[in-house]
Each structure stands twice: as structure tokens, then as C-alpha cells.
Symmetry: C2
């Protein structure tokens, strides 16, 4: 608003507070992209999973190595088995992928935040595209499951993780929505995941997305010695 402008007419609209000149960009743009992970991303994936274990106070259960991930992931085409979406993030537009997957068109979205996002681990999670640098902010790992009642597959989301400095910005929802979108594209019937019952914020968030939380089902797990023992029992 120019200084010489006449006072505005009386109105219910509140007087605007003094703002920066309109030519100054407001906020901090953040360019994001969801793309398929590749075997080259294993070091990032390993670090992200480890951070998740730290966050969940479950590092005693964490035994994955880059080698164990490399030998068990990326063995099938995307969406047929274990599949990982990575969330990339940059303060400038992200260049196109040199070798895009024919199976998946990356999802791009631009955010505008009031404050810059400070990433203390920017160097550890950087990917370079020529002279451009983006950071890996999170991931989702999912794979097909099957509903015999529907007679069709769905997706099961094993992990959804956004690094601490990028939380509460809508990135988790962006990753989960990308899985839902892919499920719909493939004609799948549902997307499922699990949540800890005391994580009321997460449960509220999921219910706002339209998810049902099924109260009666409990997970059973046979692992370690019991798994080894059971396979010989009574057979």
C-alpha cells in the first residue's frame, strides 16, 4: 500500500497491519517430490530406519544393515512387492529425474512456510542432481496385502517416517496419500497400517483422513526361537 493513499472507507474488514512491500516474497518456499527409491538410496533408507528405531525407543530390535536391506529390497518391480517412496525436499525447484521409472510419475508439491526449515543433518541426507542438491526428508515402505473377503489386493504400509525437523508440516500425510493414490490407480481395495494404541495424536490424525481404527484385532507374531521350533512341531 502506497504511503500517499487515502484512508480506506469504513469497513468490517480489519485494517491491514503494516506489511513488507508487495514485491518482497512472503515466506519460504519448499519444493517437494515423492519418487520411487532405488538401490542407490539404501544408505539413506538405512539411516532413516535407524532414526525411526531411536524415535520409537526400539533400537534393541534394530538389526538391519545396508547389506541386509540391499539383498531383500528392489528384487521385484515397484508395487509388486516391497516398495519405497522417498520424500525429497529443496528450497529451489527440483530437477527432473534422469531415469524416471515407467511405473510411477513422481508427485510434486510446493509448500510455503513462514519460517525456514532448518535441517541439522542436511549434509548426511543430501542427494545431488548435477549442481542441484535436495535432501531426503522421509519415506514410506509398503507392499501388497490381500483381502479374501474383497477378493482383491490392497497395500500394507509397514513404515511411514518423516525426519524430526520436517514434522507437523503435512509431509506424512503427503506420503500416505501417495500410497492411497497408487492403490486406487491399481484398483486395490484398501490401505492398512498399524498404530500404537497410546499414540492418540496419530490416531486422531488417521481418523481425520477417514481411516477406521479397528479396536478388536491383535497382532500375533512368531519369531526367533519360537519360529524355528514351531516349524518342526507336530508336522
Amino acid at each position: 500500500m502506497a504511503a500517499a493513499a487515502p484512508p480506506p472507507p469504513p469497513s468490517d474488514v480489519p485494517e491491514p497491519r503494516m506489511a513488507p512491500p508487495e514485491t518482497t516474497p512472503i515466506g519460504h518456499p519448499v519444493f517437494t517430490r515423492i519418487r520411487l527409491a532405488t538401490p542407490l538410496d539404501v544408505p539413506f533408507i538405512h539411516k532413516l530406519i535407524h532414526q525411526m528405531a531411536v524415535f520409537e525407543k526400539l533400537t534393541h530390535l534394530f538389526s538391519a544393515t545396508e547389506s541386509s536391506l540391499s539383498s531383500t529390497l528392489f528384487l521385484s518391480p515397484p508395487f509388486k512387492s516391497f516398495t519405497i517412496f522417498l520424500l525429497e525436499l529443496s528450497s529451489s525447484p527440483i530437477p527432473p529425474l534422469l531415469s524416471p521409472s515407467p511405473s510411477f510419475t513422481p508427485i510434486e508439491k510446493t509448500f510455503n512456510f513462514d519460517l525456514p526449515l532448518n535441517d541439522p543433518e542436511k549434509d548426511v541426507f543430501s542427494v545431488h542432481y548435477g549442481s542441484d542438491q535436495v535432501v531426503i526428508a522421509g519415506f514410506v515402505l509398503f507392499f501388497p496385502n490381500y483381502s479374501t473377503f474383497l477378493g482383491k489386493p490392497g497395500f500394507y504400509v509397514e513404515d511411514l517416517f518423516v525426519r524430526e525437523c520436517y514434522r507437523r508440516k503435512g509431509f506424512g500425510k503427503m506420503l500416505l496419500s501417495a500410497v492411497a493414490k497408487q492403490a486406487v490407480k491399481m484398483g486395490y481395495g484398501r490401505v492398512e497400517w498399524v498404530v500404537l494404541d497410546w499414540n492418540v495424536n496419530a490416531i486422531k490424525f488417521y481418523e481425520q483422513m477417514g481411516a477406521q481404527v479397528l479396536p478388536e484385532w491383535r497382532i500375533c507374531r512368531l519369531t526367533g526361537d519360537s519360529l524355528q521350533a514351531d516349524q518342526n512341531a507336530n508336522v
Copy 2:
């Protein structure tokens, strides 16, 4: 014992009751086999799933058809994706498969029951191998899942079902153990499934097998309209 035999010496061992001659077979032998299902088994699988929906009082959720099953199952090699083991049963030895899968050697076991197993739906669930007839008594449907903490796959058991007239004989455990055995063979880390929290008998049975029931996790499900809606939200 011959009638002319002298009375036995005093002993703590109870006098044997009069038994049938030793040459008479005691009980009713039941020959069982767990084998991989094939596309030809879809009509049986469909009926089994429907019976499961009736048992669980969830027929309102049941929309699978033989066609939807055929178009979504058997698309990948066994154990790479959705896999079904069928339990076959006969009162006489079951003939070998004409086209055995190289991926799986059928598991055979002979039971001996005091009473014959009467199957009111024997004709509906019969498979003919030449002049031999066996019945399908149950099934288990499972597929790989993935533990990022272990950095390796496991199996998730979606359905385990034994027809009513064959329950409480150990057949359910036989099917679940076959999945555990396959998991160990493939170097997988765990087998998981879910159970309804009010099904205390099932929970007790699973715990006796060495399974942990994880009390804190809840299943979240995005399906139907919410799944369709969500894929467009905020992305």
C-alpha cells in the same frame, strides 16, 4: 491274553481291560497332505472363504467372486506374493501329485482318530485323483511382509481356516506350522497374523505355539470412499 494263563502276579500295573484282538486296527486313520493351491482350486477357495465369512458373521463384508479371486491370485510364483496352502484329507493314502510344484514338497501326515470324521459336505469339497477321492478340509493364505528393523521379509497369514467338521484335531496348527517351516526355509524373520481380542481360546492356542500377542498395536484401514477421497487430498 489266553484264557488258560495263570493269574498275573500282584502288581501296581492295573489289570488290562478286555481289548479287541491285536490284529484288529484300532481307530480311524486319516491321511492328510498340505499342498500348494492352483488356479483349478479357485471354486474350493471361494467356498472356503465364504464359510469363513459365515463363521465370523461377516458375510456383509464378503464380495469376493471366483472371478475376482482368479484374476488376483496365482499371478506370481509361490511365496513371492499371495500363496495358498490347501489341506487335503482322505481315509486312504493320498496318491502323489501328477504335476508337483518345484517350489514346495507337500507335507504329509497320518492321524489316527477314535471316531470317524463325518463330513456332511464331502461331495462339495472332493478332489479326484484318478479313482482316488480326497476332500479339501481347510486352507491358509499368506504372503511376504517386511520388517525394516530386521531388514528382512517375513510371512503374513491373512486367513487360516479349517472346515467345521475337521476342527480341534490339530489341522489348524499343521497349516500354520507349514507356513512357519517355509519361512525358516527361506531365511525369513517372522510369521505374523491377527486375532480378535475376545477370541481367548485362539489366543491361548497361539501363545502355546510360542507366538507373542502384541497388546498395543491397532490396525488402521483406509477403504471405500475414504480411500478414493484421500488419494486426492492435499497432494
